[in-house]
Amino acid sequence: MSGRRIEQGGRVERSRAIRFTFDGKGYSGFAGDTLASALLANGVQVFGRSFKYHRPRGVFAAGSEEPNALVTVMRDEARCTPNLRATQVELYDGLVARSQNRWPSLDFDVQAVNDLMSPLLPAAFYYKTFMWPRAAWHKVYEPIIRRAAGLGEPPTLPDPDRYSQRFAHCDVLVVGAGPAGIAAALTASASGARVMLCDEQPEFGGSLLDEPTASIDGATAADWIRNSIATLRSRANVTLLTRTTAFGYFPHNLIGLNERITEHLAAPPTDRPRERLWQVRAARVVIAAGSIERPLVFPGNDRPGVMLASAARTYLHRYGVAVGQNIVLVTGSDAAYSAALDLHAAGVRVALIADVRADAAGAPLDIARQAGIDVVTGATVLGTRGRLGVREVTIGVLGRGAVNDTRRVKCDALLVSGGYTPSVHLFSQSRGKLEFNEARQAFLPSISAEPESSAGSCRGIDGYAQVLNDGARVGAESALATGHSVATQEYRVQVHEFSMHGLPGVLPQANHLQPSRAFVDFQNDVTTKDLALAMREGFESVEHIKRYTTTGMATDQGKTSNMNALAFVASELGRTIPKVGLTTFRMPYTPVTFGIFAGYDRGDLFDPVRTTPMHDWAVQQGAVFEDVGQWKRARYFPRPGEDMHAAVDRECQAVRAGVGLFDASTLGKIEVVGPDAATFLSRLYVNGFATLAVGRSRYGILLRDDGFIYDDGVIARIAEDRFHVTTTTGGAARVFGMMEDYLQTEWPDLQCWLTSTTEQWAVIAVQGPRARDVLAPLVSDVDLAAAAMPHLGVTQGRICGVPMRLFRMSFTGELGYEVNVPADYGLAVWEAIHASGQSHGITPYGTETMHVLRAEKGYIIVGQETDGTVTPDDAGLGWAIAKSKPDFVGKRSLARETMHAPDRKQLVGLLTADPRVVLEEGAQIIATPGQHAPMKMIGHVTSAYHSAVLGRSIALALVRGGRARIGETLYVPMPGGEIAVQVTATVFYDVEGARLHG
């Protein structure tokens, strides 16, 4: 025997030794071990320290319900994962694990003084103290509490691993591959239905893996599992997933699965994702999640070495590990006798079986006694001893309300069982209704809320034969519900097993005032005393008790503790368990890595990077980009040595003096076509379109029905029944949606249809006095002369031989054109224009220059000058409203009195007294200087730039009653002092607009 590994048995590969370290010390285990089984095999008993009292803790369970044995596993600096359950960590060569929440070492932890101070630290003590002096909470107490709390160390380096995601659809999803789940999957898939079967463990089989002596239809349990899985694997309609936890049950039968792909490998292939999120939409779900053994609550029940009986059995049969050499079993259920008997058979001494049921009798006791094991009934545990592990247990026998026959029994492992709690987590997450079953003292699934059925032990079925047959029946029914039929199957089973019924786990004590603490929630260190205190303080709702004591709120979510807490509360309050009720089950079933939710969404895949056809050109020219929605837009094109300010000044000058080139492709574009197109646009926009001639365009303003500016753009009439409408870059999708909404649901009678053409066209703005000269040599079938193509004219023709829609328009105040060409030609045409413009000094410019140029002209940008509270009149755009129209979207709201109040914020210009000072966008404006907070703020700066052409700063602002204030001096308070500004009209440059018509 090495450590506690027994000579043979178990499912580990004894030929493959695996080396690993725990807290720096080297150990060896076998392939197929978990960290927990390997450490137990090496005689390790202390795995960690508890959350609050820093008490030493050992392994308590063998599966995902483990509350105690939390460790940090480190692959390398960046791959460090805290709070993993040692019972789920599969051993691989070179695994490095560390215990948590202790300093300096696991065996000697300074903060264990908390345990001594525990009388001072009852549940929720922190609400009652640390209030004086006022600032001390945040400055002194809280930092101390924070450092003490928190379990493992967080990862600090970027996680280099990859995570993936899949959607999947199936007829029947089976969660849990114990006997019930496997039988369900076999039957359902035989019908031809598409079946998925998942289990959180590395191996299929569930509790059958712990039954080496069982036989099913003549085969050993192991063979039956192997054959069944082979059958399933051979069926093309079946998907099998191990290491895959169904963590969440979402509406309409969507189940979230977390598949762990590489975590168990010593050297994960770099291309494989570490984990995967499956979102499975199943026509039917079969929940076959089994049940979890319930601990018993008694003083000293948290000592290392105290362990669930079923776990001891799992360690024995799956890992070939005896959890002790000299054990005591305390049980409230028959089933747990198997653990003692099996260990006994494996050569372990069973010092005592203490059955807490006074009336316990029958097969398990008889068999145990025949095997020479001492069995007492009506027992209770009065306490345990042992510094870093249980060495002795004090058993009392209850009789007539008193404890008699106290005896101390030496042991190195204390197995406990209060029976089993069916795993109704997923069922309850689906909002299915639970019902309390008195006989089983358990909540069982009753009314489903989704197309789902539970099978096997998770719905209270006991006994392998019954469970297998239940699985087969539910599998057949589920297949049938998806339109596939199959006969169910009867299994013949031979197995030694006892009833799983049990009792609520709080053991009666001699006096109510327990001398030593009895733990209910191990991870959060919640004792019966804490629960009692909460009730004493008036917390009676189970939800309050949970939150006041934090019971069930740890990383195990109370898998082993919730029923005991509930039973204790019920008995203290003198209410029934169903009357007290459960707390809400929530996803995830077990903790799930953030990475899988992010999945592929990282780096450039976090959000699509949208670029225009001319993007690469701008990159080559060294453009600096800005994000506008998902788009990348060139902000400016710095030349060597230029900062943004210098580049923008140069770009602005170039446009004003010569010609500039601007990529406007991101603007939204919508083709509105049909006999009623003009009517539709007139109903939607504030402007009128009936009179807009073919070949002309108009600046349009779109409101919502609440009267505030929603978007703007240019609307060009291409043909009698065809309009080319532009929107802002950010507004493209929402304006399209709004238009469809009105068309489909308000005015379905209109014969008019929309098509998004945002990406059909590359848009090249050529702006500046030389724009015509640049374009002229390139275009054909178009007369660029001002008479033929005036401001706001629109025409179609060719440029560089490719088709073009040409708009004469200007967002700069200069002679300007917007050349629309089919997107694939955008780059070539851009390059041709750039080449043609060389002799005119053509200069590419970005959005920053565009902003400055338009501000010099007082043109607004929706989202900058407006913010959802601005009307057309506020923005100085009242002129655009077609007053004669009976209605347009937003018109009714504009008629409200408040929309005309003289003190509304109106758009004005601002000039600083010092022309060099550029105001800060967003700065506030006050009328009287020298104010201290709270000031009377009357507006704010919406845009502010240095204007190269004017040789000074300019700004636009929304100011209360602003237009009436033109000429006044106002003040902009800044941290460095007030800046005096003069209110002006919004147009700073070329007020008459002569340049526009050049």
Partner: protein
């Protein structure tokens, strides 16, 4: 006719399973049933009236996108002729015909893994029973909107707005890496 040499479609990587986009003629046709019937005549292919189904004939295809919306696909260079033919056929029928040849690109995915690749980030079931040959629909792939069409058992065609094409292809390649490992 435009100079083909000037044309620069979205540059995308290719792979054995990933077909680089080829230029095509594309239209969105919208209108009432009578207009759609007439358009079918002009296009030389009865437009599908069944939801989420495509009709094909030779190298032309019509994809049902919505009850009054069809995507017409034809080889590159046929924009003008199709426009003319449809204008004749649709005379007297209110409708909207818009050239979207450059709005989107067609990405072909084929091979036994095609379904698996797409199901990673497309929330629709893509097995043959749920998504048979000839089915087409607008849907999502990751964070992009796509039109997904299955012209053959192991072939999918994605019509993607051009600025989303890089995202879609990079996402597909990222998914594909998993199958390699």
């Amino acid at each position: 006719m435009a100079d083909a040499a000037l044309r620069r479609t979205v540059g995308l990587p290719t792979a054995a399973w990933l077909e680089s986009p080829v230029p095509a003629s594309r239209f969105i046709l919208r209108g009432a049933a009578a207009a759609r019937a007439a358009a079918g005549q002009g296009f030389g292919l009865p437009l599908p009236e069944t939801a989420c189904r495509a009709a094909t004939d030779g190298n032309r295809a019509a994809l049902w996108l919505g009850p009054d919306e069809q995507l017409l696909l034809a080889p590159d260079g046929e924009v003008d002729s199709i426009e003319a033919a449809l204008a004749r056929a649709l005379q007297g029928h209110a409708h909207s015909l818009v050239d979207v040849s450059h709005r989107q690109v067609g990405i072909g995915i084929h091979g036994p893994h095609a379904e698996w690749l797409l199901e990673a980030q497309c929330p629709l079931p893509l097995n043959l029973r749920a998504f048979p040959v000839g089915m087409c629909t607008r849907t999502v792939f990751g964070k992009a909107e796509v039109v997904l069409w299955r012209p053959a058992e192991q072939v999918f065609r994605l019509e993607v707005w051009r600025s989303f094409a890089t995202y879609v292809v990079e996402l597909l390649r990222e998914i594909e890496r998993e199958s390699a490992a």
